[in-house]
Symmetry: C2
Subunit: 638 residues, 2 copies
């Protein structure tokens, strides 16, 4: 008998010992990190309020109970009964029955009301119909990304179950090696920003953490070296993605092109944002006439292989590795990823990109762990002078700048990144208008911003506590405010907006390197009454940087595609302090207040100067062993 | 056309341009790192004294000229003609004709006389008979190892030529990567002594340096990790062996068991000593009832795949790597191995084990290189107090100790390692007796010492200049002195020696862990007139250490296999200073006088304290970047 089957047998025995004699367990199996328990008495199972929790704690596993197919109420009847149990206010928009697993997916506007207090409503459903309910939120703003991902996963349900079963057996395989060691190999984003990629390896397991591209460069992660995929695409056991930005996620689909067939662990919002950004990455490549390294089919493979995990859930991802993700404060779904290795032998945390202080959009990064010996820390603003303006000062300056611009009678255009910074600015503007700090006027959202916002509204539990409370308890979702308008009518609508009343326009791309912002420049650039406000970092060599530096004439293809020069007369302003990254102080604070303080810190994800400065400061101020690794090095910790 | 064939075509064209029109070149091919040139006019080729040298310099290749088979004098006739050309004094012992390659292997007691001044006699041979002569030395002391290796290689000639051709094409393959980097991965002997193994890798090439065991431990090199053989046995392009000791060579045959099929570069004496020691390693394992990790067949594979290179010869071993070996002063054939990477992009030297000062047996380690940025340095005696007695003081003490022991009327037994230390002591004793510093008496050599000495006498050009001069010019080979007697009559002879006149016995094992020394203890141990002199390091836990520390009763199986206790009454003395390793001062001197001084030093091959002490001292005293790596780390240098 294989180790996995032995483990399942043991689990089955434990379950039988724990549950009342009148509940039968027909089978147990692994699906990914979860243990699935099949029973002929799903209703009785559901009656025992804490039974699942009890089993989970006893077995130290996430547990899903499923009914045997033949004990289920027929879907037509079950649908009626379920509707009768769930309060009307929950706003159920869809019920989807899957007879193969006895699951019913309930899409509702208010999932909390479907779940009930400590899951009571869910249990009531099972008691009535036998089916196992799974709840997802109906996006308050319609999101093609979310609905595409959901319908794709529904369509690929069988395939996905095969994947999960395979992964489940992989995770619970026998630990072969007697050796105990922990290593990190650097495949990218060392002494540079971009192409984030690391391999965390033990004698039994190898985990790839992130697999990004390097914007504006041909540099790809060193996937060809033996310690990455050089010893075969499936020499990696699992992939962990810290967040959706392309410098961390762009090349994940490439793994599947190379034949990788294993799991990707990340949060649910990161999965959706990643899909959005990867497809956009392919679009942009196509528009710029570059051949992208993979086709959209591979993005779908990536999504199909993604196993979403929630903040704080301890998840087995290998026989000797448990993963826990925690809020990183950087963008929606971003995660500090904590690895508990070899039953407590060693603990490593990868910060991913972090924002230490809370922002309007997100809570501050978590830095509290049961144990952690080594921290891999981003250093984007790790340089000795990389201090940012306080958030409240920045907001104040933004409000003043907008007020002055408004008083001049013109329109205001803000180039912004679709994911993260746009939503932060939206929250600032919504409050400022609501509280009368700036005049009420339409805020037009152009480019991918609307869609990214829709994804944010699908996952309110990942947002800042205040925003979440407003959404859950006060039913005042700021993203649904009337000020916001989605530019979905193309050039015609832009022309109308340009001809119409005073307004604010948030548009991609954030560095004015393409996208609808170019059109807004054409419409609004010539009029000196208008204002452009930069709220994000403008990289060297981008059009945004040039405009910011005072360039007042830019090349432009007009609407008929003719090359032309555009005179910029609009006012150009910059408001700092809205970065998604911790500044130098934030990075130091993250480490200083970290509980427990790690013994070693690897400073990565920053230019040469930033990583050296931060590494040296942490060493001198906190007496830790610090390193500024190069790409392609391997560090051993144990 | 493949890159290799293109390169051969280019070489052929260059050769045709360089040589006189009346010499035809019928083909060129690679055999290992050499370029083999076939001609129908071997005699004319040989007439042009410097032609081969000229071509070698032009093509930057080692060149061998071979005649087309049908232009050769028949062996019977050639034999006569060759004999007539070579002076009688050369002592030719064998002529071996290989019609397939047109080579004739001449075994002679004095190879120098077969070669002639700057190769004049060799050229004369070719001019007369067309055959290409290759000269090897007749071992002055008959050596089963040397003759077995030679006859095995002769028998495997066809296979070996296939291997060489395949390796030749590998070496001259196209360089695929545009990336330029240099890395060293540590697979053993970091913060420990034993299981030496490193991988030197570039974007194109991966080279394994050493593959030893760790005596007294089950720890093997980390061959299973991806950066070693984890990505397939043939993911390594080449192996380089620094010297024959088992902690560097024991597991090379394992590579072939795992399916490795590539070359091993080392010196010729290292090849022979390695074969001797590996077979002994299997013997000892069998005697101790352990299952060895490979069979003797794999030792033969190892020898078959060995490509010997001489000190100072720059040898292409990959498209982007040139290897040069230099005397390391540690044991016969030991080599500091210098890697010239990427056409000058980077240079790394691996010290292997070194002795910086000359000893009687060997010249001091070479530390003079065209360029070297990183040095990987052994640190066996790198600790802050690891200073050894001066060699002359040690010799003086040994002589005094022997004199006193002699005066007491007893016999003297010296446990010694077969390879290296025994020959050093032999040279000291031979001189002391010859010059009257100690009385003349028989020196009996027991265990593998005689055979190891025979191998030394086969390669006098690898010995200390003085010894070499005595052998070549004065015909006074100290190893052939009448004092020395080979114990080859087993227990009977030992009994006779024990009953006979006063004498000195040199016997293995060096740490009294087994071998004939056990028998000598039985014979000589009870008599208080006898003396045991330790001249080498006695590791913790060995019988040698226990005796050295004063233990006077030891367990012993008597000749009938019964367990017994043996009372030791003989005098026990220790004379330090005969180590094959540089002491702390020697290591510092090696680095201090190194030309050029490297930028970085990796201190390896020493216990935790030794590597830390040495690393810190080199950093402080010479302002270099120094490291004390752990096993399983990867350092990037470029």
């Amino acid at each position: 008998m294989s180790t996995v089957d032995q483990k399942l047998d043991d689990a089955l025995q434990t379950i039988k010992d724990e549950i009342p004699a009148d509940i039968s367990v027909s089978d147990v199996t692994y699906e990914g990190p979860e243990l699935v328990v099949y029973t002929r008495e799903p209703k009785k199972f559901a009656q025992q309020g804490d039974l699942v929790r009890q089993l989970a704690s006893k077995l130290r596993k996430r547990i899903t109970v499923r009914p045997d197919p033949d004990v289920l109420a027929p879907p037509a009847k079950a649908r009626e009964q379920i509707r009768s149990v769930i309060p009307e206010d929950a706003g159920v928009t869809d019920l989807d029955f899957h007879a193969d697993t006895g699951e019913v997916v309930i899409e509702a506007q208010k999932p909390g009301m479907v779940i009930g207090r400590r899951g009571s409503t869910l249990r009531e459903i099972t008691q009535k119909v036998g089916w196992t309910p799974e709840v997802v939120r109906t996006p308050p703003i319609e999101s093609p990304t979310v609905s595409n991902v959901r319908s794709f996963l529904k369509q690929e349900r069988d395939d996905r179950r095969d994947i999960l079963e395979r992964v489940g057996r992989q995770i619970h395989r026998e630990q072969l090696s007697e050796e105990q060691w922990v290593r990190i190999s650097t495949l990218g984003c060392c002494r540079e920003v971009g192409r984030a990629a690391f391999v965390l390896s033990t004698a039994d397991t190898r985990i790839l953490i992130d697999c990004g591209d390097k914007p504006g460069s041909d540099d790809v992660p060193y996937l060809q070296v033996p310690e990455a995929l050089g010893s075969g695409a499936n020499s990696i056991d699992a992939v962990v993605l810290t967040h959706a930005h392309l410098d961390h996620s762009a090349l994940l689909p490439l793994l599947f092109k190379y034949g990788y067939d294993g799991p990707i662990y990340t949060t649910e919002p990161t999965r959706d944002l990643m899909g959005l950004l990867q497809l956009d990455y392919l679009d942009v490549a196509a528009k710029e006439g570059r051949t992208p390294p993979y086709a959209s089919e591979m993005v779908r493979e990536t999504i199909k292989h993604t196993i979403p995990i929630e903040y704080g859930d301890v998840t087995d991802i290998a026989p000797d590795v448990k993963l826990t993700m925690h809020n990183a404060g950087h963008i929606l779904g971003s995660a500090v990823s904590h690895f508990h290795i070899g039953n407590g032998m060693y603990n490593v945390a990868f910060s991913g990109d972090i924002h230490y202080d809370e922002t309007r959009l997100l809570n501050g990064a978590v830095n509290d762990f049961p144990r952690v010996e080594t921290l891999v820390l981003e250093s984007t603003y790790g340089g000795r002078n990389d201090y940012q303006t306080d958030q409240s000062d920045s907001e104040q300056k933004l409000i003043e700048t907008i007020s002055e611009a408004y008083d001049r009678g013109g329109k205001i255009v803000i180039p912004a990144f679709a994911v993260g910074r746009s939503q932060e600015i939206m929250l600032v503007l919504e409050e400022a208008m609501r509280t009368g700090k700036i005049p009420e006027m339409p805020i037009h959202l152009d480019g991918m911003i609307w869609e990214a916002t829709a994804i944010h509204t699908t996952y309110p539990e990942y947002l800042n506590d205040d925003v979440r409370d407003r959404i859950f308890h006060d039913d005042q979702n700021p993203f649904l405010a009337d000020y916001f308008n989605h530019i979905d009518g193309g050039e015609d609508e832009r022309q109308r907006v340009a001809d119409d009343e005073q307004c604010i326009i948030l548009s991609t791309s954030g560095m004015v390197t393409g996208g609808p912002i170019m059109s807004w420049l054409e419409h609004l650039g010539p009029d000196p009454d208008n204002t452009m406000i930069f709220v994000g970092y403008q990289a060297q060599g981008t059009m945004g940087r040039r405009i910011q530096s005072g360039r007042d004439e830019i090349p432009m293809n007009d609407s008929r595609g003719r090359s032309n020069r555009l005179k910029l007369n609009l006012d150009v302003e910059t408001v700092d302090g809205f970065s998604g990254h911790a500044d130098r102080q934030g990075l130091e604070n993250f480490v200083k207040t970290m509980n427990p303080r790690p013994e070693k810190v690897l400073c990565v994800h920053g230019d040469e100067r930033s990583v050296q400065d931060l590494s040296s400061a942490l060493y001198h101020n906190y007496n830790m062993r610090t390193f500024a690794p190069k790409n392609l090095e391997t560090f051993r910790f144990k």
